[in-house]
């Protein structure tokens, strides 16, 4: 409020005389967090408006990892686009592939054979565990517990080894093909998966020992980043965040795809919709995924792994929306076909992007440290947010 003519600060009297309500207010501090910041999980940029340490509001700036995946799809055949989807949520590449393949299959009106479906479920659920492990490690690291990160990465390695043995890749797997699978399960696949299940069961207990009843962990997560089920639905938030707010919505149960209806599993829901509930929901989800994998691996049927699909795919004119329950929430593909070999338009509904909308709401009137906790608990992957 410097007087531009004299360049001198306004005197005390003028302010009091003018009854300036903002006179004793401290200035808002605008802080730029990211895109290069250790706790923004990639290249998220958050502009924080702070009053001391209290967050008055925040704004997300995204697009630093934009690669135009949706546009690329318009210039590729259906088959050629398949590997690209792995690069969106690179932590859960298998889920992305499943969503895309099923959407195109729906468009083509074919269905993958049962054997392929079982193997798909096994790999997808293993990928869900891997994704949750990565979430847990980084989330705990953001809150200051550095050790869980190494434990989760050590155990995630076992899943990645199975992926590597199955399809040669560890992260961007390109495991599925439209109409089924490219590769037959390798010799000893079932044994490896079973070994992993017995190996992993005590490991979840180990993570929980470190955190679940840890006083500091409770204080840092309970009541932090609360969001009601109503707000979640209004914002389109899905996945564990929605379920932790008490809404029992899981696409695996609500609109069963693959052959999830054949498996017996529970959907964990939270009560308070805070960071701690989201933590608990994901921990239970890991255990439930183990249950699904166990049922699937014991019941893999014999048979072909590939449905009859034409070499050159020309889906009939039309549009399709198909969504699956990815580790982070509802992952949907909206594909418009004009009858040619290339999709006319592919629109991806990425869970991270939609969930990120809730960040502002969840962080209002909380402290800077909570912003970090909330970004962690939303479990965003910037590759998927920016596409």
């Amino acid at each position: 409020m410097t007087d531009p003519k004299t360049l001198s600060p306004p005197s005390l009297e003028t302010h009091v005389a003018a009854h300036d309500d903002t006179f004793l207010d401290t200035n808002e501090l605008v802080i730029n967090m990211g895109p290069q910041h250790p706790a923004t999980h990639g290249v998220l940029r958050v502009i924080l408006r702070l009053d001391g340490e209290k967050v008055l509001g925040l704004e997300c700036v995204i697009g630093y990892l934009h690669r135009g995946v949706e546009k690329i799809a318009e210039n590729r055949t259906y088959t050629m686009f398949n590997p690209y989807v792995d690069r969106m949520d690179y932590v859960a590449a298998v889920s992305n592939g499943l969503g895309y393949c099923e959407a195109v299959e729906k468009l083509l009106s074919v269905e993958a054979p049962p054997r392929a479906q079982y193997i798909r479920v096994i790999l997808t659920e293993l990928n869900r565990i891997a994704s949750h492990q990565l979430w847990l490690g980084t989330h705990a690291l953001d809150i200051g517990a550095i050790t869980p990160l190494f434990y989760t990465f050590r155990d995630r390695e076992e899943i990645l080894k199975i992926f590597e043995k199955y399809c040669g890749a560890r992260l961007t797997t390109h495991a599925f093909r439209i109409g089924g699978l490219q590769y037959e399960a390798y010799d000893g696949f079932e044994k490896d998966v079973k070994n992993f299940l017995t190996f992993f069961a005590p490991k979840i207990d180990e993570y929980e020992q470190l955190l679940t009843t840890n006083r500091i962990w409770l204080e840092r997560t309970k009541g932090v980043g609360k969001i009601s089920g109503k707000d979640c639905i209004a914002l389109g938030v899905t996945g564990p965040v929605l379920r932790a707010s008490g809404v029992k919505w899981d696409i695996r149960k609500a609109q069963p795809y693959a052959n999830y209806k054949n498996f017996d599993f529970e959907i964990p829901t939270g009560l308070n919709g805070d960071t701690y509930d989201r933590y608990l929901v994901r921990m239970v989800e890991m255990r439930q995924s183990c249950r699904i994998v166990e049922q699937a691996v014991n019941g893999i049927p014999e048979g072909p792994i590939m449905a009859k699909v034409a070499k050159v795919m020309k889906p009939p004119v039309g549009e399709i929306y198909h969504s699956i329950e990815a580790p982070k929430g509802e992952l949907g593909y909206f594909i418009v076909s004009d009858g040619s070999t290339q999709p006319y338009r592919v629109r991806v509904r990425p869970p991270s992007f939609v969930n990120l909308q809730a960040l502002d709401l969840m962080c209002r009137d909380q402290l800077v440290a909570d912003v970090i906790a909330v970004i962690g608990t939303l479990d965003i992957v910037l590759g998927e947010v920016d596409r």
Partner: protein, 441 residues
């Protein structure tokens, strides 16, 4: 000339019981200052390596393995790297204050060691206000941190500095109360756990670091056990507050890397950054020394009551040598485990040489004149080392507190408990004295 030699030899006599500073022996005081400075720096270097290794093993990884055998030369490599790095002063920073800040922190951290008693005669000096001096000087470091954050003229350092100052000021209160109850215990002269044995005269207390340990010796009880569980609670308060004082996990908010990148030293690089590092670790050693002196019997060996007598004194005097021989043994075990490939030949030889040095030190420590003089220092350092291990352990285990929670713990939990312990200690002391008088009359 002869007098000067006498002056120097004064302190080589076997039964010196007073620190050189207190005796007015400037020469030996200077030597001690250099020794302590070198010792603390060496401690920081060891701590650097140990923290990485211990933390790594807690986190299922190996830690430094490349520079030297088992990464033993890593601290040296790091130091060289830091010294060679460009020293950046940001254009917008207040250059003079920016330049001075790390020196204030280092100065505060090292000056504390003037009164740390490594043994009855092994201290630079013995002040009658030793503990006050220590608390006063160690709280000066907050000044350096605030100036560092302010002078950087950047948002993250500023928030880090504000957090740090609020945190250190709050926790100093709880710390002070805990220290006060320990000092109170020095004035309650009764012998034994509840101070009911012995002559039972209420005496004068002391603030001198050396006398505080002597009092524990005379009362035949370490203050951590005195008026059980009061001493233990006071010690616990101090143990928590000292972690907050040194800005370490789980109270490392001023440098919370996931929130504030690096807190108050975000803008610092190279040599100046390494000064902050040095100050942080020497401050850790300093506050651990206070804790050891006040509650855990300073230089006194363990089990002085249960395993008392000259025979046990002799047994315990072998411990320093045995400890070093154990380290040497561990080193030689790892020499045998080194890969046999010729690529590792030099590393294996280096490790063997390191083990030989450790073994040699161990053997020297068995020589009677050395053995008699080193015991005090050994037990003191061993106790401090236990505290350092706790620091690492906390870092590997706990998440970080949030700022308001940190304040809540300081003001609403530690401060009331500290006050209560202080009042109860005074009460217990009076009751104990009454009982003691009943016994004697």
């Amino acid at each position: 000339m002869h007098e000067f030699l006498q002056y120097i030899q004064d302190y080589l006599k076997p039964n010196v019981t007073v620190s050189p500073g207190a005796a007015g022996n400037i020469f030996w005081a200077t030597v001690y200052i250099l020794l302590v400075f070198a010792g603390v720096s060496l401690g920081v270097i060891c701590m650097n390596w140990l923290e990485r290794k211990i933390l790594a093993h807690m986190q299922v990884r190996l830690g430094p393995m490349r520079v030297g055998p088992h990464g033993l030369l890593q601290p040296i490599a790091d130091a060289v790297k830091l010294l060679l790095k460009e020293d950046i002063i940001p254009a917008e920073a207040d250059a003079v204050v920016f330049w001075v800040a790390p020196f204030i922190v280092v100065l505060a951290a090292f000056t504390v060691f003037v009164v740390v008693p490594f043994g009855p005669a092994h201290a630079i000096t013995d002040m009658n206000i030793g503990i006050l001096f220590m608390l006063g000087v160690s709280s000066l470091s907050v000044l350096g941190i605030v100036t560092a954050g302010w002078a950087s003229n950047s948002h993250y350092p500023l928030i880090g500095a504000l957090r740090s100052s609020a945190q250190m000021v709050s926790y100093e209160l709880a710390m002070g109360l805990a220290v006060l109850s320990a000092i109170l215990m020095t004035s309650l002269h009764g012998v034994g756990l509840y101070g009911v044995g012995g002559p039972g005269t209420s005496g004068t207390g002391t603030l001198s670091m050396i006398d505080i340990v002597r009092m524990q010796q005379e009362q035949h009880v370490w203050f951590i056990f005195k008026f059980f569980p009061l001493g233990l609670i006071a010690f616990a308060i101090f143990a928590i507050a000292m972690i907050a004082e040194t800005n370490r996990a789980p109270f490392d908010l001023p440098e919370a890397e996931s929130e504030l990148t690096a807190g108050f030293h975000t803008e610092y690089s190279g040599f100046r950054w390494s000064l902050f590092f040095l100050a942080e670790y020497s401050a850790m050693i300093a506050v651990s020394s206070i804790a050891v002196t006040l509650w855990v019997g300073g230089w006194l060996r363990p089990f002085p009551n249960l395993l008392g007598g000259h025979a046990w004194d002799l047994v315990f005097s072998f411990f320093p040598g045995l400890a070093f021989l154990f380290l040497a043994g561990m080193t030689f075990y790892n020499v045998r485990r080194m890969p046999k490939h010729p690529f590792f030949k030099i590393q294996t030889m280096g490790l063997a040489a390191f083990g030989a040095v450790l073994g040699l030190i161990g053997l020297i420590l068995f020589v009677p004149p050395v053995r008699d003089r080193v015991g005090d220092i050994f037990w003191f350092v061993a106790k401090v080392a236990a505290f350092m291990y706790l620091y690492i352990w906390y870092r590997g285990t706990f998440p970080r507190y949030r700022f308001d929670q940190l304040m809540k713990v300081g003001w609403k939990v530690l401060l009331p408990i500290g006050l209560g312990v202080l009042i109860l200690t005074a009460g217990a002391g009076i009751v104990g004295l009454e009982m003691a008088q009943h016994v004697t009359h």
